[in-house]
């Protein structure tokens, strides 16, 4: 027999303050992605060409590199949160679901890191020409 009160049991089980964390970060990233994605699409369309030299020069402008890094990180985070919900909805086997969620998170972090590194290499002039 437990000596804990019903209230204590309930408080120990429920979401504690961070229950809306997933929802909130999904909204926060989506608000940030509105201007970031529009900037990216407009910038790409405004480039005279998409060859190596033109894109590199564009990325060496500090604003482009900064905004592109922000875009990749925010989009990666938003994507991770969204894909997580999709997996949670459709993969019912607990073990498989956990495995897929872990792999999904690793993949997103890897992707974001690779993209940031690539932007930095071009922006800081490390890329071979």
């Amino acid at each position: 027999m437990s000596l804990r009160t019903p209230l204590g049991r309930v408080l120990g089980l429920g979401a504690a303050k961070d229950g809306v964390q997933h929802w909130w970060v999904q909204r926060l990233t989506s608000v940030a992605l509105v201007p970031l994605t529009i900037w990216f699409v407009v910038s790409l369309l405004a480039l005279p060409a998409l060859d190596h030299a033109t894109v590199s020069v564009w990325l060496r402008q500090s604003w482009s590199a900064l905004l592109l890094i922000l875009l990749v990180l925010t989009a990666g985070w938003h994507s991770q949160l969204g894909m997580r919900v999709v997996v949670e909805d459709y993969v019912h086997d607990t073990g498989l679901r956990t495995l897929v969620l872990v792999l999904l998170t690793f993949a997103h972090v890897l992707l974001a890191a690779a993209a940031v590194l690539a932007v930095l290499r071009v922006a800081l002039g490390g890329a071979g020409l």
């Binding site: 989506s30 509105v34 994605t37 699409v41 998409l50 894109v55 990749v72 969204g82 019912h92 020409l129």
Partner: protein, 131 residues
């Protein structure tokens, strides 16, 4: 124990409803854009790897199948953007009445078409400039 139906209860919804269509489309386009993120990263890595690697990647990235992928990504982006803004408005507690939601569903569809046409036009112009 009896096996119970698990969420999402797809079978209880009427598939033709605009509520379901707009919602599932938002999810589909979101997943597509996640795949697009993969493509973006590949493009950036090729760019960072130098002019030769970039030229090699561009063979793949500028081919016919790639253009179909870009078209799908453009449509996905426009829809997900419009539907996402609709969701953000809902989150403020506005526009949740049935008539309003019906109207905003059409607004999202119209905004998607307009944005796709605009981006498609400029992308086509860019393609004309540099074949």
């Amino acid at each position: 124990m009896r096996t119970r139906p698990l969420s999402p209860h797809l079978s209880v919804y009427r598939m033709s409803r605009y509520t379901l269509a707009t919602s599932i489309l938002n999810r589909f386009t979101g997943v597509a854009l996640s795949a697009g993120l993969l493509l973006l990263t590949y493009w950036l890595m090729a760019l960072a790897a130098g002019a030769h690697a970039y030229a090699r990647a561009l063979v793949l990235l500028s081919g016919g199948p790639a253009k179909l992928v870009y078209a799908a990504l453009i449509v996905s982006f426009c829809y997900h953007l419009a539907a996402g803004i609709r969701h953000l408005v809902w989150d403020t507690g506005r526009g949740l009445e049935r008539a309003q939601a019906q109207r905003s569903a059409w607004l999202v569809a119209a905004a998607t078409v307009v944005m796709v046409l605009a981006i498609g036009y400029f992308a086509w112009l860019a393609g004309e400039r540099t074949p």
